[in-house]
């Protein structure tokens, strides 16, 4: 904490404490629920990297699909917590044990999200369409045989079918439907999911994209990609307010070079 005296002799206290995120010791667990791991940390790191932008974004409704232990939605709620203007949070999971564990993790941190046990966002798609300002997803991205997808329990947290895309490909159109005009989507991918192709597909739906975090562990290369609508009345790149019109192509060249290099490296291994 630092104290700064101004010219009038009164002082201001600046809180230099690092922003709060969920604490591992307070994260609840269950044998059938995926515990926070490298992918969860990468996603929260992406939210932290964008912390100021997220606060300035003034979201009204935020949502996590597949909340698992609750580590990510709790961290997002803590990042955006303010006394007078906190957003409303939703979190869903297909695994009933996971929504209970998420509830306990949220309560341990004294934040709230409305929970739903459901497949992706089923039940909310009609009435919540166009209302979500921030959506966060750590999907089941691990390539597996198709028959392992959707078996419930713990495997629902990771089994992603061919190229790990079975559930991802269902979530993308759902996100497009739920996101507001100023909506942002943060989603985690493995190189094997072909994130470049996903970015191209989202571009066809009118979204800009950029890599917020990329991380290689011994087993996998993870990237968190942020998507935003590039609509007429939303300043281009108002995700950060930084990309001038002419910078758009530059942005694309960048994401292409980053992702194709990663894909190339993965392929060689």
């Amino acid at each position: 904490m630092s104290v700064i005296w101004d010219a009038k002799g009164s002082f201001k206290i600046f809180d230099d404490m690092p922003p709060r995120i969920a604490q591992i010791r307070l994260v609840s667990s269950h044998p059938q629920v995926y515990a926070p791991c490298d992918d969860s940390y990468a996603l929260v790191d992406a939210l932290l990297a964008d912390r100021k932008k997220l606060i300035d974004h003034h979201p009204t409704i935020c949502m996590e699909v597949g909340s698992g232990s609750g580590y990510v939605i709790t961290s997002l709620a803590l990042i955006l917590k303010s006394e007078s203007n906190s957003p409303h949070f939703f979190a869903t999971d297909v695994n009933p044990h996971a929504t209970l564990v998420t509830r306990d993790t949220l309560e341990a941190h004294e934040v709230h999200a409305e929970l739903l046990t459901t497949n992706i966002t089923s039940g909310l798609e009609k009435r919540l369409a166009g209302m979500v300002d921030v959506m966060v997803v750590n999907p089941p991205y691990v390539p597996t045989p198709e028959e392992e997808v959707g078996n419930g329990g713990l495997s629902a947290a990771w089994a992603g079918g061919e190229n790990g895309r079975a559930v991802i490909d269902k979530i993308l159109p759902v996100a497009d439907n739920l996101l507001s005009e100023k909506g942002w989507l943060y989603m985690l991918f493995l190189a094997a999911n072909d994130p470049l192709q996903i970015c191209l597909e989202m571009r066809d739906r009118g979204y800009g994209s950029k890599i917020v975090v990329q991380r290689s562990t011994e087993e996998e290369t993870l990237h968190v990609i942020k998507f935003w609508r590039e609509s007429e009345n939303q300043m281009e790149g108002s995700e950060g307010g930084s990309t001038p019109k002419s910078g758009s192509q530059k942005g694309w060249n960048y994401i292409f070079s980053q992702l194709s290099r990663l894909t190339f490296r993965e392929t060689r291994q």
């Binding site: 009204t60 939703f90 929504t99 709230h112 409305e114 459901t118 497949n119 009435r127």
Partner: protein, 123 residues
């Protein structure tokens, strides 16, 4: 489950056309205090199906909301906003069920969490 969530939920069973609003079966309601945020309420007002909220609120034991859709000018009234706030965010259905208005299918609510998972023949 807050009534805001109830207001955003529809029956997701295949073939159901009129799945909103879900009928509430109450076993246990709890109240939790939430910070009053007038900007949030003003943002949400136009998105809320008023009749569904007023009816749900009544079933949950809080009959203070007007039955008719209020004119947007009520948003200047602090008294109105406080009632809206209480009904939308502070009443929780802790135990009970949500019932599809078209098929009568029950979706259980336990520990405040609605379970909207469908059986194979409903997808």
């Amino acid at each position: 489950m807050r009534l805001l969530t109830h207001n955003m939920l529809s029956s997701n069973i295949k073939g159901v056309i009129n799945g909103f609003p879900l009928r509430i079966e109450v076993e246990k309601v709890i109240e939790k205090q939430v910070d009053f945020n007038p900007d949030f309420l003003k943002n949400m007002f136009s998105k809320i199906d008023w009749k569904a909220l007023a009816d749900a609120s009544k079933i949950m034991g809080y009959a203070e909301l007007p039955e008719e859709v209020p004119d947007a000018s009520v948003l200047d009234s602090d008294e109105f906003l406080q009632k809206f706030h209480h009904a939308l965010l502070e009443l929780h259905l802790e135990e009970g069920a949500l019932v599809c208005p078209e098929t009568g299918r029950r979706f259980p609510v336990n520990k405040g969490i609605p379970n909207m998972l469908l059986h194979e023949d409903e997808v």
